[in-house]
Structures are given as structure tokens and as C-alpha cells.
Symmetry: C2
Subunit: 172 residues, 2 copies
């Protein structure tokens, strides 16, 4: 059974939607998608480091569209590990565990990994929105589209825009 | 540079010493080392699952003798990752991070992994006190002696009793 390592932020969880909401709450300005496209998160949202270090930030993230049903179906055919680079934000670990338990209750604690560098991860397929994770991975890579990576391409990863697209690639 | 995956409980942290202390506090009886030798933790300490789910249990564990100085020296010659099967005990994550920060401040957040199953770990050497982790590992394995594994041997792992012994094997 092939193993898939699936990222949380920007892949299972719609961090961008929450960044936009926090930005609007703080400034009163609702940024258009086009305004942040191609920008790193810290350029698009200057207060992002404050937000992600706030208790509760990771507890209330919206789930990425179709992620639940597709991951559940993948879970029947693959060994799924949720792999999140979470140790940079010590406050996030409790929130992330509770969030997974709520939205992905079929994922066992045995299949959750909170790490820093993902170079230690051994799997067949990695789904992630960051080149820094995918570039060092030896297996098949799927780059999940996010505003920060929208215009980037190093020719090494297959881009996917939605979970339905991942379903087509891995399940059909 | 070779990568070493080092376990926490029973390897960096002296969990047995704390189990003995908790047992004495609850029962008034100080168990002798011989009384628990060769017994699984749940047989030797019937309340162990209650203890490890108590907030603070993992924050105040004594450091295993010589672990700090040997890991610091290993850190100059190897890529060190601390890998703890911690997601079974959601309350432990915050305590474990704080414990590492206090006793192993030279270990970056990038090199900490909290997981469930360690089958996802990719490294050259694994130091652990549990067969369930070492048996699935493809690289070199060092079985750190603990009361629960004292009489077990499946012929697949090199047994080490102390951190000074690990130093001799990996550094001299």
C-alpha cells in the first residue's frame, strides 16, 4: 500500500481564507484574491507571524473544499499520514490535533506527524503547497496551488488546484 | 552527514525513574529495580496510562545520565532529529517541547518530530527502547536498555545500556 504524506496548512486547511479574514478584521479592508496572488504570505499579510502564534488560530481554520471526502476515500486505498511543519509554532500543536480530530476523525493519532523539516519524511507521494518541502522529497510530488506559489514553477512538481483534481489523479 | 533519529521517553528522558517515583507517591512502596525488570510498563505500573495523560508528567522528567553532553557532541558530527511517538498523548506535546527547550536547547524546532507510528521516519541510525519502532526501521538500530526490554532480544538490534556506550559506538 503506497503511503501519502499530506500537508495541513494551505492543503487541508484554508489558511489563506483565514488570513484574509484576519486582515479585514484588523484593517477594515477586504483584499481581493488578485491582490495577494504570487506574493509570499509575509508580504501579502505583514501581521501573519503574529496571527499564527496566536492561540486558537489553527483551531478555527476552514476546511479546504472537498478535502474531507477525498482524503477519506484516499484512506481506503493508501496509507495516509498528515504531516505538518508545526514545531515552529509551539502553540499550534494542541489546536492542530483538535482540528484534525474534528474534521478528519478517521485519521488515527498513529498517522499524524508534527515536525519542522520534512526531509525526515519517508513516503511515496507528498501533497504540499511549499517548494521547500517538495524539493527534498524523493517520491511523487503534488504542488497544491496557493496564492503564494501561484506563479512559481521549477518544473519538478505536478500542480493541482483542487482536491477533486487530486482525486482524479490518485483514485480514478 | 548521517542522520540519527533519537527517541525521547526511556532514551533522553528517564521515564522509569519518574514511574518509580509516582508509584511510591501513590502506594508508599519503593519498588526495587529487580521488581520491574523484564515487565512491560503497564504490567510494572498499573496506573501508567493515567500518569502519562496527566498534564505536567512529561515536563518534569529527569534527563537520562550523560544524554545532554553526548547528544551535543553527536550534533556536531551528525544530523540529529528528536523523534517522539507523542501524538498518542495529546497533552504531552506542549510539555515535551518545553522539556527539550530546557534540556536540549541546541536542538532546533526544525529537528523535532512528534508522531505516532515511526515507520514514516527516514534516517540512517535510530536509537530507541522499543522493538515496535526499531523493527520497521531500515537503517542501523541501537536498542537502549530499559526495564521493559531488559530480557528481550530478537537478534536484530545492537543493545546499548548508557549514553557513554553510544558515544563510543558513534563518536570514537
Amino acid at each position: 500500500m503506497k503511503r501519502i504524506a499530506i500537508d495541513m496548512d494551505g492543503v487541508l486547511a484554508d489558511t489563506t481564507a483565514q488570513f484574509l479574514q484576519y486582515h479585514e478584521r484588523e484593517t477594515g479592508i477586504r483584499l481581493a484574491a488578485a491582490a495577494i496572488m504570487g506574493k509570499t504570505e509575509s508580504i501579502a499579510f505583514p501581521n501573519v507571524y503574529k496571527w499564527v502564534n496566536t492561540e486558537g488560530f489553527f483551531r478555527h481554520l476552514p476546511v479546504m473544499e472537498n478535502a474531507q471526502e477525498v482524503v477519506q476515500r484516499l484512506n481506503e486505498r493508501y496509507e495516509i499520514f498528515i504531516v505538518s511543519a508545526a514545531t515552529e509554532f509551539p502553540n499550534s500543536l494542541i489546536d492542530k490535533q483538535a482540528w484534525l480530530k474534528e474534521h478528519f476523525p478517521f485519521i488515527s493519532w498513529k498517522n499524524i506527524v508534527f515536525c519542522g523539516s520534512k526531509t525526515i519524511i519517508q513516503a511515496d507521494i507528498m501533497i504540499d503547497d511549499h517548494f521547500k518541502n517538495l524539493d527534498y522529497f524523493k517520491g511523487e510530488t503534488l504542488l497544491f496551488t496557493a496564492s503564494h506559489n501561484a506563479f512559481a514553477d521549477n518544473g519538478r512538481h505536478r500542480r493541482v488546484d483542487t482536491w477533486l483534481e487530486i482525486e482524479k489523479i490518485l483514485l480514478i
